[in-house]
Amino acid sequence: MSSEEHVIEVRGLTKRYRATLAVDALGFTVRPGTVTGFLGPNGAGKSTTMRMILGLDAPDAGHARIGGRRYRELHRPLREVGALLEAKAFHPGRSAAAHLTALAAANEIPRSRVEEVLGLVGLTEAARRRAGTYSLGMAQRLGVATALLGDPGVLVLDEPVNGLDPEGIRWLRTLLRSLAAEGRTVFVSSHLIGEMALTADRLVVIGAGRLVADTSVADLSARYGSLEEAFLRLTSASTEFRGSSARTLDAGERTIS
């Protein structure tokens, strides 16, 4: 895998929804070989940014490129970029195996890969069950399987930890780290700082659509004492939803809604 083609470049990315500036001249680079965490409070613009990287939303200014090309210019998108945006992005009446087989057929991916990814995410047993009967954790696993189907060099995952039990969280952490170790670019959003501290090597932190930090996990926690402290300080000016009593607590005790 050559590394240049797996770099995600975001430059001056801006998205406006009527009066709200969801993403404001955002710029950062996500490199292969490491897990990069994408952190920000609820409503900071994480999902919007990811949707623009994947060509699902058109930016009002700036651009997002993967290996120098926009997503829509990729020849075989599913084989180059794996994405998980919503846990339940499948038909509830179709089984995991059928869902993946259909996508494999459309992208000329060998059928044997379906069994492979089902095994990788631990869904082999439930593969023939209708996906509508899955728990949120199982749905997330199917989402991860879908992202991995084309064996892509770039992974963009929006809140993949949601709904996973402790065993599932550890499994995902190990999986993401090993995918990065293989030379892939792994870009994962979350609002769970503790989990990101264990999973990611680098962090891109945004607040109110703006970049507030683009650095290593080690650097950030060293500078502020802990990663949680760093996150709360960096995003305090931009947090959109905050409990009414939050102002009376110190930063360390503040809870993110």
């Binding site: 210019e73 020849h75 038909h91 009446g93 179709r94 089984s95 059928a98 087989t101 259909a102 996508l103 057929a105 459309a106 992208n107 000329e108 209708r130």
Partner: protein
């Protein structure tokens, strides 16, 4: 969609995907079964109630086709709205 080499191949791949998506839903088979059952049942009922020797046998036998077409329409709606 850009016109890269193999546009026909892409069409073929997309068709294969749609076919897999269609046949892996239970509602597809229910709707098809209902279509055949309804068409046959109506043909039998119409035939059984025709006591006139000058009755058009072919027309009677095919009486269920129109309601059957409606059910195939339902299948189309199910397929599209499932996306």
């Amino acid at each position: 969609m850009t016109a890269v080499p193999g546009t026909l191949g892409r069409f073929h791949a997309a068709s294969r995907m749609e076919w897999i998506k269609l046949r892996t839903l239970r509602s597809t088979w229910w709707t098809l079964a209902a279509t055949i059952a309804a068409a046959a049942a109506i043909a039998v009922a119409v035939g059984a109630n025709t006591h006139d020797a000058s009755g058009d046998l072919t027309n009677n036998a095919l009486a269920g086709i129109a309601p059957g077409l409606l059910l195939v329409g339902v299948l189309g709606v199910l397929t599209m709205s499932g996306e």
